[in-house]
């Protein structure tokens, strides 16, 4: 049904009201609503994807108002894939948050709002509508970060609020400039109108600059990334997993659509300086993000800076204006979402087992959490770029595209990024596997035994002091080691997904190809 594409946004919004409405009467309303919404979203996204893969790109006029005056929703191979990604991540996080993260009605409400916002970003075909959905996403995220309940979380949320709103406002200004220049807000229409106006018109150039800067803030590109480490580190684990996978992804996707659907490669041909500047910024982001990640001792901050670097890589791929590099950027976008979500959930689990959140706290944790540690190691090496996992596929295309485009600097940076990523992941893996746990001398306290001797050594308390919602009842269901089944499933599924995506990368690329062909005619 063609309404599925609109329902992708509507269903989560409507179901977001349920926890608020029924929250007084029934405590479990939140989770049930979220679960229903996640499943419905999954069904809808699969329907949309099936339609796109069989018949190709299609559009939907909201409220039956015809574009360019009405709002248009568009789905092609790229957005269909990303919408499915949203569903999968939502299902995973809803599952995970039940026992680990905040289990409150307000949390689920905000999560569903966020789902709606992100889905909207991926399916919209109108630049102002994009702003609306970016704002919905932002507002929901500010609230979700604040559910961390600590002063640091509140501060991080406030910082994110301020910086994010400035970014969104810059984006809005850019939209305004484009509107003044062309009189339309529809993406497809804009592309023709902008060409008519002329790409070197100051209005157009300023609009582009504002749009790019605004979206760079939202996707946390250096030096506009300062909100991200705090937001990721202080929010609850389930929130971090969700927002790291999807929020910056949405912003980067928006950037992609703007550069190629609205401004088109013709703009790059007319004003090469624009994308050159973006390439430079992105490359710097890769290097600086990795260096900053190495300097971190807090695991979640380290992963946050890692995101800065990885998104630098993605946007570098987008800015080298040829099909290969853009393909690489898109593949890495999808792959990174899967890997980062898995890594954050893994970090949450391991930090709980180890009793601390820094790199050094993870010493010897592989003995106590073998499955999750193995999955974490696989995800880490996948992000480094070890084939056949998906990290390699994206990198290969970005490097190849850069070489094809004669951009040797980008190629060198992308290739060296492997070593940079290795720098901060290798020490974590080394601590996990090749160092002994500090409190345990020769024997490592094994899971089931620990519950009996839990009073002796608090550092090894198996029910994981960090995540507040665990109780001793959970020890029975978690097998005594403090790791919930859901958490383990999510991390392992992410690891498997990263490898499978890598092996079938060429199929993923085949989905993206028709779209890029149109752009690069």
């Amino acid at each position: 049904m063609t309404d599925a594409i609109a329902l992708l946004v509507v269903v989560p919004i409507v179901l977001a009201l349920v926890p608020i409405a029924l929250g007084r009467l029934w405590d479990g309303a939140g989770w049930v609503a979220a679960a229903l919404a996640a499943l419905a979203h999954l069904g809808l996204s699969v329907t949309v994807a099936a339609k796109v893969f069989s018949t190709g790109r299609f559009t939907y006029a909201v409220g039956d108002y015809t574009p360019p005056f009405g709002i248009e929703l568009v789905t092609d191979g790229i957005s269909a894939t990303l919408v499915v990604l949203v569903s999968v991540v939502t299902v995973a996080v809803v599952l995970y948050a039940r026992r680990t993260g905040p289990d409150s009605n307000s949390f689920y409400s905000e999560l569903l709002l966020l789902t709606a916002g992100i889905s909207g970003v991926f399916v919209t075909g109108d630049v102002f509508n994009l702003y609306v959905f970016i704002e919905i996403t932002g507002l929901a995220t500010y609230a979700l970060v604040a559910t961390g309940r600590s002063p640091a979380a509140a501060l991080a949320s406030l910082k994110y609020l301020l910086v994010g709103t400035i970014g969104a406002s810059l984006y809005l200004l850019g939209v305004g400039y484009l509107y003044i220049a062309t009189g339309t807000l529809n993406m497809a229409d804009l592309s023709t109108q902008l060409q008519a106006v002329g790409y070197d018109s100051p209005l157009v150039l300023t609009g582009f600059a504002l749009l790019v800067v605004g979206l760079a803030v939202k996707s946390a590109l250096y030096p506009l990334h300062t909100w991200q480490p705090g937001a990721y580190a202080e929010s609850p684990d389930s929130v971090t997993a969700y927002i790291s996978a999807l929020v910056s992804t949405a912003a980067a996707y928006a950037l992609f659509r703007l550069v190629y659907a609205v401004f088109t490669p013709a703009f790059d041909a007319a004003v090469p300086f624009a994308l050159d500047a973006l390439v430079l910024l992105a490359s710097v982001s890769v290097v600086v993000g990795s260096v900053l990640a190495v300097l971190q001792s807090d695991l979640k901050r380290m992963l946050a800076y890692s995101s800065v670097a990885q998104f630098g890589l993605v946007i570098a791929g987008f800015s080298v204006a040829n099909a290969t590099a853009v393909t690489g950027g898109l593949v890495h976008l999808v792959g990174h979402a899967v890997m980062k979500a898995g890594l954050f959930v893994g970090v949450g689990v391991l930090a709980g087992v180890a009793g601390g959140r820094t790199v050094d706290d993870l010493a010897g944790v592989a003995d106590r959490a073998p499955v999750v540690s193995a999955a974490f190691a696989i995800l880490a090496f996948a992000l480094v770029g070890v084939p056949p996992a998906v990290g390699f596929a994206g990198k290969w295309h970005i490097v190849l595209g850069a070489v094809e485009g004669g951009r040797w600097g980008v190629a060198a940076v992308a290739v060296v990024s492997t070593l940079l990523t290795l720098a901060y992941f290798a020490r974590v893996v080394e601590r996990m596997y090749f160092q002994d746990a500090p409190a345990a001398t020769t024997d490592t306290v094994s899971g089931p035994d620990a519950t009996a001797t839990a009073d002796t050594d608090s550092a090894l308390t198996p029910d994981g002091g960090e995540s507040g919602s665990e109780s001793t009842d959970d020890a029975k269901t978690t097998g005594g080691s403090g790791i919930t089944i859901e958490a383990r499933t999510v991390v392992v599924a992410a690891a498997v997904g990263a490898v499978v995506l890598g092996l079938f990368a060429s199929d993923l690329i085949a989905v993206f190809e028709p779209v890029l062909e149109v752009y690069f005619q």
Binding site: P387, L400, V403, E430, S506
Partner: protein, 636 residues
């Protein structure tokens, strides 16, 4: 050359992966777990061996796994060059599995499941490298090999081991990065990365700057694992790993994968003709020649046996690269034949070193005088392998060296023949003393080893003309402190020692005290004015032997870690090893060690001899000749 679709190359790569699962699953039952290792090794060897007749006949078995990235398929094909490496890796894995069992149990090592699982993974990745049919597939398995071997390098979990692991990852991933860059360049210029015997045609006509850059990146990237100078220094540090790892991986699988990569680049990506036209063959041969000589000279100065073997490996690997760089058919044959030849010989040597470590806890050559009495079969095998390393006839090393000598003369560069001959002499120089002192000397009358004992440049002279050595100063400090209460941090290597407290892992590994030692033994240990190495390091083996027999893995691990820490001879190093106070005891045939270790030692030595006596009969030479015939068109 006909191709047929077959599952066997894929099965050969997947079987070790399956082995990982079974090994991990049976972690609670060590005997079952070891059984799975043996079974997997046997199965893999069987699969690979079953492919040999077809490859010799000219039929290549190919497993197509579909497109990996657009334009590049993931395909495994059992072509002759791949078969050389695959046959070698799988056969020697079988031998090493038995040895591993004896070694790990002899030392009562920790984390054996992780060890055996990572071993299986490494061999599986090595087989993937062997059978890969294009540069990208090779890169995939190359990186997986790095990831799989890292847990083995850092196995000890000591500070030294972790440092060595970090260095290993940095170097090998750095090499991988260079390979990736080179692969991208090749793909961009020619549109293909498939291995074509004789070289990819388009590279001959491509822009020479790009082609040279691609060659440099590829050869350099693979050269890291092939331990070419100056990117070789990860290898001596990786000797902190357990000896079967040093033997199979860092003498056979990992380093040979690097050389194999260079071989693929020279023969199947660029082709000998294009390499010659581009003029990059001679620089490669020159770097190899420098590595051969310099590494041998460094080896002369190593007292630790495994480090000496490591530098010998670095030197011998460059025989192969030299052959590949010289490009003449005879040189190519010699270089490629040295892959299995060196593998058998070096594995024997490493096995001997490991057996000595397990049985007597001796790691340093200066402690091994007269050890032939204690370990006759081991030292005999050592002697045989050393003869081969020097290139003397009847053992494998001679055949490959012969071809290399002919090849260098063919190529018109007699200097490389000179390098090979000098290298042979140097090999004798660093192996002969070990063999001679083992059989013909005793701990009391062992010859001094000035190359090992003295600092570079000779003993230093004091400004007032009197003679002093660095060690003399420190022994003064030690004596002064010994008269006091506790030894304090004097000199560069003393640390406060408190036998009652558990050992801090931050302690300088040079003088890592054991819990069983008190102050006096430490002082005795660090005295430095004896003339002979044995005097300078008086054996407290007798006192420690009682504790060592019941030693827990911590001691063994720390011992392995510390013995690697010295780079100079006047360092203080820990001594559990060396002959007992009464001298080495005589052991009869088969009584010196477990057959888990002696068996593989004799098999490997026998293999080295067999390869020397019947090179074609042992299949490898026939495969090599096929490879060279396909690559150059010359049947040698």
């Amino acid at each position: 050359m006909t191709e047929i679709d077959s599952l066997r190359p894929l099965a050969a790569v997947l079987l070790p992966a399956l082995g990982i699962l079974t090994i991990v699953a049976s972690h609670r039952r060590p005997n079952v777990r070891e059984g799975f290792t043996i079974l997997t090794a046997l199965g893999t060897f069987g699969l690979v061996a079953s492919l040999v007749p077809a490859t010799l006949a000219g039929t290549t078995h190919v497993s197509r796994l579909g497109t990996f990235v657009p334009g590049i398929d993931l395909t495994l094909s059992a072509d002759p060059l791949g078969m050389i490496f695959a046959l070698l890796a799988s056969a020697l894995w079988l031998v090493t599995s038995f040895y591993s069992i004896g070694y790990m149990r002899g030392l009562d090592e920790h984390s054996q499941t992780r060890y055996f699982a990572a071993f299986a993974g490494s061999v599986g990745a090595a087989l993937g490298v062997a059978f890969a049919s294009n540069l990208v597939a090779l890169y995939v398995f190359y990186e997986l090999l790095t990831v799989a071997t890292y847990p083995l390098v850092a196995h000890d979990e000591s500070d030294t081991a972790r440092k060595a692991g970090r260095k290993y990852l940095t170097y090998t991933f750095g090499g991988g990065v260079a390979v990736l860059a080179g692969t991208v360049l090749v793909f961009w210029t020619t549109g293909t990365v498939a291995f074509t015997p004789g070289g990819i045609a388009e590279l001959a006509t491509a822009d020479p700057v790009v082609a040279r850059a691609a060659f440099a990146l590829l050869a350099g990237g693979f050269g890291v694992k092939a331990a070419l100078i100056p990117v070789h220094s990860w290898l001596p540090d990786a000797m902190v790993a357990p000896t079967p790892v040093s033997g199979l991986l860092h003498a056979v699988a990992v380093v040979k994968s690097g050389v194999f990569g260079v071989a693929r680049v020279v023969l199947d990506v660029f082709g000998p003709e294009t390499v010659g036209d581009l003029g990059v063959g001679l620089p490669l041969a020159a770097i190899a020649a420098v590595t051969i000589v310099v590494a041998s000279i460094i080896a002369l100065r190593q007292d630790n046996l495994k480090r000496r073997l490591a530098y010998s490996t670095i030197s011998q690997l460059s025989y192969i690269v030299l052959g590949l760089g010289l490009l003449s058919p005879a040189a190519l044959v010699g270089g490629l034949l040295h892959i299995p030849a060196h593998a058998f010989m070096k594995l024997t040597l490493f096995f001997c070193a490991g057996a000595i470590h397990v049985e007597t806890h001796t790691d340093d050559i200066s402690d091994m005088a007269g050890i032939g009495k204690r370990m006759p079969v081991t030292m005999a095998a050592f002697a045989v392998a050393s003869v081969g390393m020097a290139g003397l006839p009847l053992v494998a090393g001679f055949v490959s060296k012969w071809y290399l000598l002919i090849g260098s003369l063919d190529a018109g560069n007699a200097i490389f023949a000179g390098v090979l001959l000098v290298s042979g002499l140097l090999n004798v120089g660093y192996f002969w003393p070990i063999v001679y002192q083992a059989f013909f000397q005793t701990p009391e009358d062992a010859d001094s080893k000035p190359l090992v004992e003295f600092p570079i440049g000779g003993a230093r002279v004091r400004t007032d003309g009197g003679e002093r050595s660095e060690s003399g100063e420190q022994s003064e400090d030690v004596e002064r402190d010994a008269s006091g209460s506790e030894p304090e941090t004097a000199g560069s290597e003393e640390v406060p020692i408190n036998a009652a407290e558990p050992v801090d892992s931050e302690v300088d590994p040079d003088v890592e005290p054991s819990e069983s030692e008190g102050d006096i033994e430490v002082d005795a240990r660090v005295e430095e004015d004896g003339e002979y190495a044995v005097d300078r390091h008086p054996s407290d083996h007798l006192g420690d032997e009682a504790t060592d027999d019941g030693t827990d893995s911590h001691d063994a691990d720390s011992h392995e870690g510390t013995s690697l820490a010295e780079a100079d001879t006047d360092d203080h190093h820990e001594h559990h090893g060396g002959p007992p106070a009464a001298g080495w005891e005589r052991r009869g045939f088969g009584e010196e060690s477990t057959w888990f270790m002696l068996g593989p030692i004799t098999v490997a030595a026998a293999g080295a001899v067999a390869l020397g006596l019947l090179p074609r009969g042992m299949v490898f030479l026939a495969l090599v000749q096929r490879v060279v015939a396909e690559a150059t068109g010359v049947v040698f």
